[in-house]
């Protein structure tokens, strides 16, 4: 543990200086640095170079470029707006005035709104995913996995009654090697949501369920900080499964869930 040599230390220095080294190795490296003047000097030089580059000119976009982009960019939203605006005959004067400005206005609007909106939506998606992962991690850390521990779907489902304003579908998948462990209330995206806990071999899965705003969507995998997330929408419910399982296995879990909630006959006790 405390026998790191200079060669090893030198290999870790860049990542350490950039704040990209994990905690255990950072601690081991710091221990080495305490007793090694050469490596400490090397870190000092690395930091100075890093700092030096940070001081060079950050070239901000010139206003002229900003204006040109705003005026020139085509956009999928601008095109139809301009076409409908250029009907020639009726009310010629007003139309002409409008159509002259339609394109630039629509284009700049689409550009400003479109790009910002897209990035904002993306950001809120990121926030949601981070929230889900954080919740998943927390549930494992504080051993607060479930409020109601039961592998019986008929015990877990009623437990949510009166705690939520909707009733999440609860399916046991023991036979498919995804036993249900229980349920928990959690708080995601500014609302109380149902979290169902499943296990696959030694891995835990948190399945978050809340009412959907949009139509059905097929399972879609996302990764975030070493965790796998799979999202889908089915019969009016939004589902997010979070686990450290690999993407394929978690997607399989999603498909089993969809199968189980679709096929009403699967409701029959299956033990």
């Amino acid at each position: 543990m405390n026998t790191m040599n200079c060669e090893e230390a030198r290999e870790l220095l860049p990542a350490y200086g950039d704040g990209e080294l994990d905690l255990p190795r950072s601690l081991a490296l710091e221990k080495h640095l305490d007793g090694c003047a050469d490596c400490t000097a090397a870190l000092r030089i690395q930091r100075a170079l890093s700092q030096g580059v940070r001081g060079v000119t950050y070239h901000r976009a010139p206003d002229a470029l900003r204006a040109r982009l705003r005026a020139q960019l085509p956009s999928p939203v601008a095109a139809p707006a301009a076409t409908t605006a250029s009907v020639p005959q009726a009310q010629p004067r007003r139309r002409r005035d409008w159509s002259r400005w339609a394109m630039p206005i629509a284009a700049s609007l689409a550009l400003a709104v479109g790009l910002n909106l897209m990035l904002a939506t993306q950001r809120s998606q990121d926030v949601l995913r981070n929230e889900l992962v954080a919740s998943h991690v927390r549930s494992l850390q504080v051993e607060h996995l479930s409020d109601v521990a039961s592998s019986d779907q008929h015990t877990v489902k009623p437990w949510f009654n009166g705690k939520l304003d909707y009733s999440p579908p609860v399916r046991d998948l023991t036979q498919q090697d995804f036993p249900l462990l229980g349920g928990r209330l959690d708080y995601i995206a500014h609302r109380q949501v149902a979290a169902l806990i499943y296990r696959h071999r030694k891995h835990f899965i948190n399945l978050y369920v809340w009412p959907a705003q949009d139509g059905d969507a097929a399972p879609d995998s996302h990764g975030s900080e070493g965790y796998t997330l799979v999202h889908w929408r089915h019969e009016g419910m939004e589902y997010w499964a979070v686990s450290d399982l690999n993407g394929e296995e978690l997607r399989h879990f999603a498909e089993l869930q969809i199968e189980a909630t679709t096929d009403k006959t699967a409701n029959a006790p299956n033990t």
């Binding site: 030198r10 170079l49 060079v56 998606q125």
Partner: protein
């Protein structure tokens, strides 16, 4: 505003092209592409996505003008990805560290040294130090494994250091 990340896009283009007019061209072309491939945007960070497009646009642009040949890939292939023993040695016994520290604080000197680095080294330093992106984000933008980001950054800093040492004090 056209985009919350226009400054980032322009700054990268400017450091890659080393010319304000060329940077304008690259950013404009990149934005056109960004809109065309809009539907290809599959989540993640909007800034990283845009920077990846700026970068790709630049390399296409430079290739068309025959201005770019990658000396870094050659460098990495022949010298190896790891910083070598002699590099470590030089780290220890190069020029007087105090003198180097002074020079690293001379922004004009660092700026000139950075402009003289091969494109890939300049690029990775700009992404890391000016955009403060993580190794993972850089790996996504540059399209190389995480380990390559780490070793390329090390080599880039080393080259920058040699460049700084080689330049005469003004």
């Amino acid at each position: 505003m056209a985009s919350p990340h226009l400054d980032a896009a322009y700054n990268l283009a400017r450091w890659l092209t080393r010319d304000p007019h060329d940077a304008d061209d690259v950013v404009q072309e990149a934005y056109l592409r960004a809109f065309r491939f809009f539907s290809g945007f599959r989540g993640g960070d909007g800034r990283a996505w845009l920077l990846a497009i700026v970068r790709n646009t630049f390399y296409t642009w430079a290739e068309q003008r025959g201005r770019h040949k990658s000396d870094v890939e050659y460098d990495e292939a022949t010298v190896g990805l790891q910083v070598t023993e002699t590099d470590v040695d030089k780290n220890l016994h190069g020029t007087d560290p105090e003198k180097l520290l002074l020079r690293a604080a001379d922004l004009q000197l660092v700026e000139t040294a950075l402009l003289r680095l091969p494109t890939e080294y300049r690029e990775i330093l700009v992404l890391r130090e000016l955009e403060e992106l993580s190794y993972k984000e850089i790996a996504g933008i540059v399209g190389v494994p995480l380990g390559t980001v780490m070793s390329r950054l090390s080599r880039a800093r080393l080259r920058l250091r040699h460049q700084i040492e080689a330049m005469d004090q003004p």
